[in-house]
């Protein structure tokens, strides 16, 4: 009893030094808290100003025509960039069709089949290195293996460049998603006589799917805004595309082209294209963050 009594009195030490130390500790604490708040607000500044700038400059030209018409010739007014919107969607789609299966299947292999094999370690390392590679290199790569071979710029060359860009993100997030699946689920499945394949298809993948989809949407959001890989591969086109094997317009290249010409209308249009692109990327990001988040 005595012991407890003296113990609890320790909290009320009236020692002068102790009191001043406590005061400076609490000041320090408050200062750090304020600093953190200020810095977090600071990170919002660029984001908010981009949104405001793009809205302010992009909204005036925004209309239905923008989505249905072709870009105006140099110095001309009117028109839109329907072909660039479709081009971006098509090329991101091609990239997804390549990168998602490759990325997810590799992730399944290195996480479920041979997690400690040399191949798995190599794949993991290469994927991590790839995430750091500048996107322009992906463009040069696709230029070398597709454009040089076929002899022309094309949507699928653009798709390949974006796929290379997306692959490491998809692979690494998918692997993380698979690692996050409780091993108790796998054990239960094996314990009931399931094969590895059945366990992956019926238990592991369904549980990891939301997180895998998040990774895919993040990769899409990043790829959709890239310019450099497309300049080398899909180039640009003033016209609607008839096939995947011809130069193809994209939003990012349109913005790049139009913002560097001396015509005010084209520059306006580049702002509007930026607005559409930002909206698209933001939508993809929001879907990634919310729609697929785990429910339990």
């Amino acid at each position: 009893m005595d012991n407890i009594g003296t113990h609890s009195l320790d909290f009320f030490k009236t020692d002068k030094h102790e009191a001043s130390r406590a005061l400076s500790r609490s000041l320090q604490n408050r200062f750090l808290t304020l600093l953190c708040i200020a810095l977090s607000l600071a990170t919002l500044v660029p984001l908010v100003s981009i949104v405001i700038l793009v809205l302010k400059n992009g909204l005036p030209l925004l209309s239905l025509h923008i989505f249905t018409e072709l870009p105006p010739a140099a110095g001309m007014a009117g028109g839109g960039f329907g072909n660039a919107i479709i081009g971006t969607l098509v090329m991101v789609g091609i990239a997804l069709a390549i990168a998602a299966p490759v990325g997810i299947l590799s992730a399944i292999y290195i996480n479920e089949y041979a997690p400690i094999s040399r191949l798995a370690k190599t794949v993991r390392l290469v994927a991590k290195l790839l995430t750091g590679i500048p996107s322009i290199i992906c463009g040069v790569f696709a230029f070398a293996i597709v454009v040089m071979r076929t002899g022309y710029f094309s949507a699928y060359a653009g798709g390949v460049a974006l796929a290379v860009l997306m692959l490491p993100t998809i692979l690494l997030t998918a692997e993380q998603a698979l690692t996050g699946v409780q091993s108790a689920y796998r054990e239960a499945s094996y314990g009931l006589g399931a094969t590895r394949f059945q366990t992956i298809i019926r238990v592991v993948l369904p549980d990891a799917l939301p997180a895998i989809m998040t990774g895919i949407m993040l990769a899409v959001a990043r790829a959709a805004g890239e310019t450099a890989p497309l300049i080398f591969t899909a180039l640009f086109s003033q016209y609607w595309a008839n096939s995947l094997s011809e130069p193809t317009a994209s939003l990012s290249v349109l913005i790049y082209n139009f913002s560097t010409v001396p015509f005010p209308h084209q520059i306006q249009m580049a702002w509007t294209a930026s607005l559409v692109l930002v909206a698209f990327v933001t939508a993809a990001n929001i879907i990634a963050q919310t729609a697929f988040s785990r429910k339990h």
Partner: protein, 271 residues
Amino acid sequence: MPTLAEHASQSTPAAVHESGRADFISVRDFNFFYGKKQALFDINMDIPEKQVTAFIGPSGCGKSTLLRNFNRMNELIEGVHHSGEIQLVGKSIFDRNVEVIALRRTIGMVFQKSNPFPKSIYENVVYALRISGQTKKSLLDDCVERSLRGAALWDEVKDRLHESALGLSGGQMQRLCIARAIANRPKVLLMDEPCSALDPIATVKVEELIRELKQEFTIIIVTHNMQQATRCSDRTAFFYLGKLVEYDNTHKIFSNPSEKKTEDYITGRFG
């Protein structure tokens, strides 16, 4: 509180309940290694059919390791190996012709931490049937009702079969795992501390269930709870440091053990 021995004498003496082969599972000179570390030493024992056999012993003595050898779950761990023999009804479970998949369907398992899949109650129960390719709705429905009744859970969940299993209470989840394990009508049920995460009331339910289930299944249960061993097992095996120290009728083990080590353990002198 009654002593352990009194508990044991209250339950039916095991010898009375002789209902099948005495060597339904037989373990011969069995050694098991995790890499270089030996976890089991020269285990020899026969486990009788349609009775409850309890494995007791201090933590780390190898109870789970032996249990997980019966359905070859340990093979999922990298770098393990064994010597000796385990036979199910006279046939080696390690034989080259034995399909692990089929073995695990014959020997079901319930884990220490209940681990229902993040699926509906219904889908949890029929999992074993689904993976063996069963799609007939009436058959699946029958299986769900039979298994949930078998696990004494039917009345509690029959109105919400298609809701997520993760919404059940801890005790209900563990009974769901039992239902899932018996859905495919296995011959043997392995239970690794099935009640360790349950409250006393849920524990009583599961124990009652275990006594029920032995009409149909051969049950091996790992437990740290001596009362539980006396309440629901017919035979008890005491392990210490990877060795089988004593294996006898539960009543005998708890009232008059032959080994000093066993007595020390069950009277709480160590472990």
